[in-house]
């Protein structure tokens, strides 16, 4: 396993009391719930939600400009918070997720530390949140119990996101679903924070309650096209990274379909299982643990799907076992850097579930996406001629007008395909 040399400042037990941990934004609902969970364990955490061009500008000042855009944004957001957010640099820690994969994203942590040193904050500890255990921070160790609670944030977040996306274009009272989602984020966050149950029973009960509540949202039929969004995880989810892609698509009359964060977690777990199966590179006990986690997460997702189907009004996501199978004809599941095979599988999954119009988002120059995104578009289109994919690159220099122009072309074709199909039937 990759072991970073120990030349970093660790987050100590004492810091738990003295330091506030700053968290970059990616998926606000998910992250808010997760942070509530962490607060019950005694951590002080704050979510950074500032956006605007100065974030990227700050990032460009402190990070090599050819680095991927998510690194520039995330690091820009941290440094901006330290410089302008009124935090005491001696009482602040930062946290970032680190996969430890072969993509350069594994180096965001190192780049962040270098940027901190350059900006004059070498004392700020950076916590690496990683399943691979790349670093050790005595004050921030994740037990199975903690992890289970954190995952609850992911499950609920995914469900809320899915429901909002399905309702938003049709609401009689615009904004109603989003409002409900925010109320639920608060409520579930509090529940998880107060030590509420994280077991499967509690999970199912909450799924049901959420579904019942969202089923009351009044809607009317509207002429929309369904658009799926896939891509590099940060620009796919973060409005800061993708210039508010979802809002744009909804404004243009689309129903947006974004696969959940749980799928990415499952993908990460699965890759470790495959490292054992393909190469025997993982030891058996670790393999067994990953298999256990895999089964647990699949089960939780299955429970969500069942509840959605039982309720009946909403479209349920695809079980992940099926998603895994979908891509196999195109790309080997050994391709595991970045979003890897998941990206290809998600495009196919979206197409199969009726979202044949797909936006594939990536930071400019994203290496894995050359292969798993842009590289798989031709084979996908060859075999699925109605699939309408557009690849959009994001970076500090790309302009919105360019991106929106491409999106508009994709949408114009989506409408044409829909009209042709309707006139044919």
């Amino acid at each position: 396993m990759a072991q970073m040399e120990k030349n970093y400042i660790a987050f100590t037990e004492e810091m738990k009391d003295t330091h506030t941990i700053l968290v970059p934004t990616m998926l606000p609902m998910h992250f808010r719930m997760i942070m509530n969970v962490m607060r019950t364990y005694g951590y002080h955490m704050e979510l950074l939600e500032k956006s605007g061009p100065e974030i990227a500008q700050t990032g460009l000042k402190y990070v090599h400009n050819d680095t991927c855009y998510p690194a520039i944004l995330v690091i820009g957001q941290f440094i901006d918070a330290l410089q302008a957010g009124g935090y005491d640099p001696d009482k602040v820690a930062l946290i970032l997720f680190q996969t430890g994969g072969g993509c350069r994203a594994s180096n965001y942590i190192s780049l962040l530390r270098k940027a901190l040193a350059k900006a004059g904050y070498p004392q700020v500890p950076v916590i690496s949140l990683s399943l691979a255990g790349i670093e050790d921070h005595p004050g921030f160790r994740l037990s199975v119990g903690k992890l289970k609670r954190i995952m609850c944030g992911v499950f609920y977040g995914d469900l809320l996101m899915t429901l909002v996306n399905q309702l938003r274009p049709y609401e009689l009272h615009p904004g109603e679903a989003q409002k409900k989602a925010e109320v639920w984020t608060e409520r579930l966050g509090r529940e998880l924070g107060a030590g509420g149950h994280s077991g499967l029973g509690a999970l199912k009960r909450n799924y049901r309650r959420i579904l019942e509540d969202f089923a009351t949202v009044e809607c009317e039929a509207r002429d929309t096209v369904r658009v799926g969004v896939v891509g590099e995880i940060f620009v796919k989810y973060s409005p800061l990274g993708n210039n508010n892609l979802e809002d744009f698509l909804v404004r243009e009359g689309a129903e947006v379909d974004v696969p959940g964060l749980l799928d990415f977690c499952l993908y990460c777990v699965y890759n470790n299982i495959m490292d054992y199966k393909l190469y025997r590179r993982v030891r058996w006990p670790a393999y067994a643990a990953y298999t256990l986690a895999w089964k647990y997460l699949l089960h939780c997702k299955r429970a969500m799907i069942d509840e959605i189907r039982k309720q009946g009004r909403f479209r349920a996501p695809t079980p992940f076992e099926e998603t895994v199978q979908l891509g196999k004809d195109y790309l080997n599941i050994g391709a595991k850097m970045g979003e890897g095979w998941l990206l290809t599988s998600e495009m196919l999954e979206l197409a199969r579930s009726g979202a044949e119009n797909i936006v594939c988002t990536q930071p400019f120059g994203c290496l894995p996406n050359h292969i798993c995104g842009k590289g798989m578009m031709k084979p996908i289109k060859d075999r699925n001629p109605n699939v309408n994919i557009v690849a959009i690159d994001y970076d500090a220099g790309a302009t919105r007008v360019n991106q929106e122009n491409r999106l508009k072309l994709m949408l114009a074709n989506a409408r044409r395909i829909k009209a042709e199909r309707e006139s044919a039937s």
């Binding site: 350059k118 025997r280 590179r281 790309l331 690159d393």
Partner: protein, 979 residues
């Protein structure tokens, strides 16, 4: 709904032109095509007023299309249709049997495939403009677009010109011009670059065939471009359609869309809506503070900078010795004549108009005229891109690399200067001075070189001169924020800001800020003035623009010195340098009167590279040859001392890998990416298993061209893109199988934290499989393998072969794998031994060593562009990173040291840092995401040992001019340090 109307109006606002079409019952009633000079709404109103007679009193449908039309359409409430979609509408109506449409616009290129499911492609955000690009190139050639087109029709040969984007192409074209290449050949080559760019960037694996329609302004106007397209695509006359309405296709599509959409207007309502929209819809794009708050601020600024001037002396009153400096830059030529007291007697600064030899000839005769018998020219030195040509044309005493010339001038000016920033027409150069010697040099990468000439070209496109444009910038109230990437990005940022109603003042100031930020954050990567130095001198023609100078001071929060002769510093430095001469060999007035300059072209036969040479012939029979990649081509260089060159050594070793006929048939290994490292391993394994191994040959430009049709992602690195050509070559060689495995992990050398491959090396086979239809002709094996141990390799390989019906026993596999590892280890041992021998040789013969470090595949002659030979030509013993890294242990770095190839870089850098006479130059492929991380670490290791860090970014570019400057600057700096 009311009765269907007959009239339909389509408005197409592109990046540079506006088009309107009015149709009645599908017939064109009126059409108009004009440049809008970024005044989108005013121009549309003007055009509508002109067609008022046709519109008056009638109702009609209308819609707007085009990349710059969206803002207006939204603000004025007119239906909008995306332009590619509009083109599709037009073609479906007028020419329904079309298979493919190629449409070039001002800044966009589009390809639409109509068969097998509609497929529309637009150029990626990095793949620069086309119409605007042709305009820029015409400016570079000092021709109108029409003249350039006419010239192209008489071309005799084509030069390879990089086709990724305008900036790259420019850095290929400029040296061609400077070396005296024929303009008609260059013009045709420019068109060919556009064609290649369209195919490589947009076809993405689909063949362009059948009936192909060509649309858009550039294809309507440029006959030469059409010819290039037709020839390259191999289209018959019937199948290449160049319709009369080529310029209006989008507007026609907008008419059709308007009919379908059914929103009605009359003349007054549409004019009123557009008029009301002026100033509306500005999306609040980010604005910057003004450069100058008040007129008084500007005056104070001017007064301060006026102090930094050089003494001038009336040439008519001077007698005695004088020294001449010539700076033949990429776009401008500068001359300075100085007196014994270093006063300026005469100076000249102008665009070289694509023919620097003629400019210098004219200037020399003027200088001789002014000197008369009173003044003797005692020495003459030349610097800049055209140094070699000018030096041999006019027998100058000395040539010196630009960086040294600039430092010489700045030092004269301010002896304690410790930082110099020079922004010229095409390059940014900056260097720190420590202890009286150049300490580190930074040059901009080819992808951001749109500096001064960019502003100039932009000014012209807006109908202003460069100085008028700068004047505008000074007065800007709210400069627009245009970003800091390459010019292509800036072009589209400008487009967006124009949409938002930015004034020319705001754009000018915004461009100045972008150029400055580009230099600061992209090239120097500094974040405070202290980091640069205490005494900053800025120079280069671009700093004569007060807006740029002010933007720099504002951005740095510091006052700097700009010599009044900012644009002449190179020439002045050269003149100062020439003062070491007392008697000059410069061409005499007599000879100058009979001076003639002819050029010929030829292909070098010195080696298999076959460089295309331009031979300049001067009246006394002297010749100057350019275009050569090594000294051999320069004529008579056969006796050059053969210094050790590990890159050549590795190439020879690879070329020596031959297969032996075996019962299992032929298996091809593409010699690209990871194969450069592991060829000996796979070669031995497959030979042992009974295959005849066929290795594709070393790459040439042709290799790339053979495969460029199937590249899906044009921003991937060149070493990856060239892989497609290697596959094609293997297929033509008649192999039954091709093998290129997927390897998440590379060989573990136990000198890093993990041992990954980069995602491209690891999984490129997946992309090949998905995008290369020709691979269906063979059995393509790309199993996921593990190199951690012989057992893991033979297990994974066995499964991989099994899946293709190739059965081997466990024992056969294990023996083959063991043989493979033995061969691989022996191979690496040879490389290590040769590396150490080269180091020893350098020590014994007192030579400098250059570790030309990158990845194993950078040894490829096409990917490395012969930089290794260039370095040998400059007197370096050249070794590779993988031939010396074994001499150092694992390095402790600030990043995750998790890639095998990269860990070698760190170790090689450490070796350079700790050994005298050993330098490291890092080769970085454009688009390599991982090197954004490694470069800073390599630099840190070198600087830790007091060494200079030099980085060379390489791509498809074949021009070695910039690389030469960099390497010579390195040499110059080393010599200065040694003094």
């Amino acid at each position: 709904m009311s009765e269907k109307l007959a009239l339909s109006l389509g408005i197409d606002i592109g990046s540079t032109t506006a088009k309107v079409v009015l149709t009645e019952g599908g017939q064109v009633l009126y059409e108009r095509y004009e440049r809008h000079l970024s005044q989108v709404r005013q121009k549309t109103l003007e055009m509508l007023e002109e067609m008022r007679p046709q519109l008056a009193g009638r109702r009609f449908y209308a819609s707007v299309s085009g990349s710059a039309g969206l803002g207006m359409a939204e603000a004025a409430g007119i239906p909008f249709v995306q332009e590619v979609y509009a083109t599709g509408e037009a073609v479906r109506r007028f020419e329904p049997d079309t298979n493919v449409v190629i449409e070039l616009g001002g800044e966009d290129a589009k390809v639409i495939f109509f068969d097998h499911g509609l497929d529309e492609r637009m150029n990626g955000s990095c793949a620069g403009g086309t119409g605007a690009f042709i305009d820029q190139m015409a400016v570079l050639l000092n021709m109108s677009v029409r003249e350039m087109d006419d010239a192209s029709l008489t071309h005799e040969r084509l030069y390879p010109i990089a086709s990724r984007c305008g900036v790259f192409a420019k850095s290929d074209i400029q040296p061609l011009l400077n070396q005296g290449a024929n303009k008609s050949d260059v013009a045709a080559s420019i068109y060919q670059a556009v064609v290649n760019q369209t195919i490589a960037g947009l076809a993405q694996g689909r063949k362009i065939e059948g009936k192909v329609m060509f649309l858009g302004g550039p294809l309507y106007y440029c006959k030469g471009l059409r010819e290039r397209f037709q020839e390259t695509l191999g289209l018959s006359d019937e199948n290449a359609v160049f319709p009369e309405y080529a310029r209006f296709a989008v507007a026609l599509g907008a008419c059709i869309y308007a009919e379908k959409n059914g929103v009605e207007f009359d003349c007054d309502s549409i004019v009123g809506a557009i008029r009301d929209s002026i100033g509306k819809g500005a999306s609040g794009a980010h604005r910057l503070p003004p450069l100058f708050e008040t007129e008084a601020d500007y005056e104070a600024f001017r007064a301060r900078h006026a102090k930094a001037s050089v003494a001038e002396r009336d040439i008519a009153s001077y007698e005695g010795g004088a020294w001449l400096g010539i700076d033949c830059g990429s776009t401008t030529t500068k001359l300075v004549l100085i007196s014994r007291d270093k006063e300026i007697l005469y100076s000249y600064y102008a665009s070289n108009q694509g023919n620097p030899v003629e400019i210098v000839r004219a200037q020399l005769s003027r200088v001789y005229d002014l000197c008369g018998d009173r003044i003797q020219i005692c020495g003459c030195a030349v610097t800049g891109y055209g140094e070699d040509l000018i030096r041999s044309a006019f027998r100058c005493d000395e040539g010196l690399v630009e960086t040294i010339a600039h430092y010489t001038a700045a030092r004269h000016f301010r002896p304690d200067v410790d930082f110099i920033l020079d922004i010229g027409g095409q390059d940014i150069k900056c260097f720190k001075i420590r202890g009286g010697a150049i300490d580190s040099i930074m040059l901009n990468e080819a992808c951001s070189s749109g500096c001064g000439s960019f502003i100039e070209t932009f000014a012209r496109s807006m109908g202003r001169t460069a100085s008028e444009f700068a004047e505008h910038g000074i007065r800007a109230r709210a400069p627009v924020d245009l970003g800091t990437r390459c010019t292509v990005f800036m072009n589209s940022s400008v487009k967006q800001s124009q949409k938002d109603g930015a004034t020319i003042e705001d754009i000018s100031a915004g461009l100045s800020v972008s150029v400055v930020r580009n230099a600061l954050y992209k090239v120097i990567r500094a974040n405070s003035p202290e980091e640069l130095g205490k005494n900053i001198v800025v120079q280069g023609g671009t700093f004569l623009n007060d807006a740029v100078l002010r933007a720099f001071e504002q951005e740095m929060g510091a006052e700097v010195i700009r010599p009044a002769i900012a644009g002449l510093m190179g020439a002045y430095g050269a003149a100062l340098h020439a003062m070491r001469h007392e008697k000059s060999s410069l061409i005499s007035l007599q000879e100058l009167m009979h001076f003639r300059h002819d050029t010929n072209s030829a292909v070098c036969k010195g080696c298999t590279n076959h460089c295309r040479l331009t031979i300049n012939i001067f009246p006394d029979g002297r010749r100057f040859i350019s275009g050569n990649q090594c000294q051999r081509g320069a004529g008579g260089g056969k006796n050059i001392e053969e210094l050790p060159n590990l890159h050549a050594f590795k190439r020879d070793m690879l070329s020596g890998l031959r297969g032996t006929p075996g019962p299992r048939g032929k298996i091809g290994l593409p010699l690209a990416l990871g194969m450069y490292e592991l060829a000996p391993l796979w070669h031995a394994i497959f030979t042992k298993l009974g295959f005849e191994v066929v290795l594709s040959p070393l790459s040439t430009r042709k290799t790339y061209e053979k495969g460029q049709f199937s590249i899906p992602s044009d921003t991937a690195c060149y070493p990856a893109k060239i892989m497609h050509g290697h596959i094609e070559e293997l297929i033509s060689a008649g192999v039954e199988r091709i093998f290129y495995p997927c390897l998440s992990y590379n060989v573990d050398e136990h000198a890093s934290d993990n041992h990954y491959n980069c995602p491209i090396v690891a999984y490129y086979a997946e992309l090949l499989h998905g995008n290369m239809d020709s691979l269906k002709q063979v059995d393509f094996l790309y199993p996921y393998l593990c190199l951690d141990s012989p057992k893991q390799l033979s297990d994974t390989l066995g499964r991989g072969l099994e899946a293709h019906g190739l059965h081997f026993t466990k024992r056969e596999l294990r023996e083959a794998v063991d043989a493979g590892f033995t061969a691989y280890e022996a191979w690496m041992a040879r490389i290590h031994a040769e590396g150490e021998r080269a180091l020893q040789y350098a020590k014994e013969h007192d030579k400098r060593v250059m570790i030309l470090a990158g990845r194993p595949y950078h040894a490829d002659p096409e990917i490395g562009h012969g930089i290794d030979k260039l370095a040998v030509g400059l007197g370096f013993v050249v070794v590779s990173e993988d031939s010396v890294c074994q001499l150092e242990p694992k390095q402790s770095v600030h990043v995750l040291n998790q890639w095998t190839y990269h860990s070698r870089l760190y170790r090689a850098a450490r070796y350079a840092a700790e050994h005298d006479g050993v330098e490291l130059v890092q080769l970085v492929s454009f688009g390599c995401g991982l090197d954004a991380i490694t470069t800073d670490e390599v630099r840190a290791i070198l600087e830790d040992g007091g060494k200079l860090y030099t980085q060379i970014k390489i791509d498809e570019i074949t021009n070695l001019g910039a690389v030469r400057i960099r390497l010579r600057s390195l040499l110059g700096a080393l010599e200065e340090r040694g003094r």
